[in-house]
């Protein structure tokens, strides 16, 4: 079976980690890697794995997209660059999977709503944020049991895993994650906080989820729902672990997670990279299957 050909835009932490995962995929084949710095580590690694590369940004890619039959593009640049990248890629007939917090397309969280979002047939699908990928499944695990008035998440990532794009986009991270907590997680009101911790050795990504339920929480049902959702996320992020909780305190339900990565590009502490790239890849693979079946067109 021929794999669906794709391009990765952005040769930083996220783009490079995604490349390693895509190289193992049975569904998609990474063909192009796009950067803006000729000396970037990500581009060098892409070349060594036989990908075509350009350091001239998305413009260095688009002229080749049709001849190379690129059907899917992943954007791992920044929220500021994304809108323009998306427009150009879609013009070339590819589906755009957005790993920046720009949030133009529908919000996709694989363990919660991916099939439904793909059925919409959007040309741009948005992966929310790393913190959103880690925490929204938990908010949903509570809200599918009973109404959640307020959902709040705190994502703590190691300094080494937060690249320049993440740092420049910190407001987009909090806004997009909070919106995802509401739209996909099902909380009536959402809030997101991100903390960057510089400790050495680097800390593994930590996430805390606080939900305030409208009525007294059904402890048994929530516990079961949370454990079931953890297993669901572990299917694509094996290092996704419940550390503590759910803790019940009045209407507050608190869940404490640790997310270890596979160590494809950055070491295993950078679970924030893995959960994002694994979600993007999962989305790309499902779209590839739809494209092959002729059920998806841009």
């Amino acid at each position: 079976m021929e794999r669906v050909r794709c391009a990765i835009i952005g040769s930083g932490n996220i783009g490079t980690d995604l490349m390693y995962k895509a190289l193992r995929s049975a569904e998609i084949e990474p063909v192009w890697m796009v950067g803006i710095d000729p000396d970037s580590d990500g581009l060098a690694r892409a070349r060594s794995h036989g990908l075509k590369t350009t350091h001239e940004g998305v413009d260095g890619l688009i002229a080749h997209m049709r001849e190379d039959n690129i059907r899917i593009a992943f954007d791992a640049t920044s929220a500021y660059a994304h809108a323009e990248n998306s427009r150009k890629v879609i013009e070339q007939g590819a589906v755009m999977i957005d790993l920046t917090p720009a949030a133009i397309g529908p919000y996709c969280i694989p363990s919660v709503n991916l099939a439904a979002q793909i059925a919409l047939g959007a040309s741009n699908l948005n992966m929310v944020t790393c913190g959103g990928q880690a925490t929204i499944p938990m908010v949903y695990a509570v809200s599918r049991v009973q109404p959640v008035d307020y959902g709040e998440i705190i994502a703590t990532v190691s300094s080494r895993s937060a690249g320049p794009g993440t740092r420049a986009n910190i407001d987009e991270f909090t806004r997009t994650t909070a919106t995802g907590v509401e739209r996909v997680g099902g909380a009536k009101r959402g809030k997101a906080i991100i903390i960057i911790n510089p400790a050495e050795p680097p800390i593994i990504m930590r996430d805390t989820i606080h939900c305030l339920t409208e009525t007294e929480p059904d402890q048994e049902a929530i516990r079961a729902s949370v454990h079931a959702m953890i297993a669901e996320v572990q299917k694509y992020v094996p290092g996704y672990q419940l550390k503590n909780g759910p803790v019940f305190d009045g209407r507050r339900v608190s869940i404490f997670l640790e997310v270890a990565g596979l160590g494809d590009y950055l070491p295993t502490y950078a679970g924030n990279l893995d959960i994002m790239t694994a979600a993007g890849l999962r989305t790309g693979e499902l779209i590839a299957a739809e494209l092959r079946a002729g059920r998806y067109s841009v």
Binding site: I170, I195, L212, N244
Partner: protein, 342 residues
């Protein structure tokens, strides 16, 4: 130490850092009364925000009794000479909060990051600078970086448009020679037009000595709080600092008796608990832990049958930084399980 004739600007913290010991429950009437009295006392600048800055109201840090906007709109129009600042921690608050605060009439925005992560403040500092407010970069937990490292971070903030950079001893860990080294590095390395400030905590009982060391090394802005009302064992007490400044000939422009009265008549009577160097606050300074963890650790200790001191030491061992309040319950649960308590 000869500080005769040094002119400095004091910045009152009781209505922002003081929100931590008051669990962010200061009433509008209390805010107005304290701010008005500080204005009368000649205090030039006061900070009014949730303890964790704009947008800090949350399960993680505690919900405020009122929104930041309600507090700012209550206080700012009543000020005769005193200006008002707001604190913003990128990752918690956003540029939307910043615009709101400027719309409320704040004169000064202070953008705070961990002392090694200044590059997350670029968009906020640039916007504050563009909006024409007094723009301050605030390097928190400054004991966790070297003087040279702090200068590098300070230069980033300066390059974004901050005109004052603070060394912020969030854990009350620094000793006077540490403060001297850090302030000196900034004073010598930043542009001459960039001011340097110091924010102290009293967890090791060093806040006044540290503030004097900062002034000697060239800091011209010093954060203080009447009755020390601030996180941990509190901030540098305004009334004590002004008394020392008067004796040493440091010019603050603040009326000593009036700030004594703010401390004694307005703040001490409203305190939820004494803000003092108790054993847990001392551990904050000793272990280098973020001061606002104090009450969270005490509550988790009560809930899970542990000692707050043990929880705080573990928070220090894990190298937690400002804002990681969520780790306190997590650590407490780990400790309680290890000890067979749950």
């Amino acid at each position: 130490m000869n500080l005769q004739g040094k002119k400095i600007t004091l910045h009152e913290m009781s209505l922002r850092d003081g929100m931590h010991p008051q669990r962010h429950q200061i009433t509008l009437d209390q805010m107005i009364a304290i701010a008005t009295a500080c204005d009368e006392a000649g205090m030039p600048l006061i900070e009014v925000t949730h303890g964790d800055g704009l947008g800090g109201s949350s399960v993680n840090y505690g919900f405020g009794l009122h929104s930041d906007e309600e507090y700012l709109r209550a206080v700012i129009p009543r000020m005769k000479q005193m200006k008002v600042s707001a604190l913003l921690l990128p990752g918690i608050g956003t540029v939307d909060h910043l615009r709101m605060a400027v719309d409320c009439g704040v004169h000064c925005i202070r953008v705070a990051t961990h002392c090694t992560e200044a590059d997350v403040s670029a968009q906020h500092i640039k916007l504050a600078s563009k909006l024409g407010v007094d723009t301050v970069g605030f390097l928190m937990m400054a004991h966790m970086n070297t003087p040279e490292g702090l200068l590098h971070q300070a230069k980033l903030m300066e390059s974004y448009g901050a005109t004052t950079i603070y060394i912020t001893d969030s854990a009350g860990f620094l000793l006077p020679h540490d403060v001297t080294a850090r302030i000196t590095a900034l004073r010598e390395g930043l542009q001459p037009g960039t001011a340097v400030g110091f924010h102290g905590h009293h967890n090791m009982g060093m806040s006044i000595a540290n503030s004097l060391a900062a002034v000697e090394a060239g800091a011209v802005r010093i954060d203080v709080a009447c009755a020390g009302l601030g996180a941990g064992a509190g901030n540098t007490p305004t009334e004590a600092f002004v008394a020392v400044a008067n004796r040493m000939g440091i010019e603050t422009g603040v009326d000593l008796y009036k700030v004594m009265d703010v401390a004694e008549d307005l703040i001490v009577p409203m305190m939820h608990q004494m803000v003092r160097v108790d054993r847990d606050a001392l551990v904050l300074g000793y272990a280098g832990v973020y001061s606002s963890f104090l009450l969270f650790a005490k509550r988790a200790a009560t809930r899970y049958g542990l000692s707050a001191r043990d929880i705080l030491m573990e928070m220090g061992r894990r190298k937690t930084v400002g804002g990681q309040e969520d780790m306190i319950e997590d650590v407490a649960l780990d400790m309680a399980r290890e000890r067979g308590l749950i």
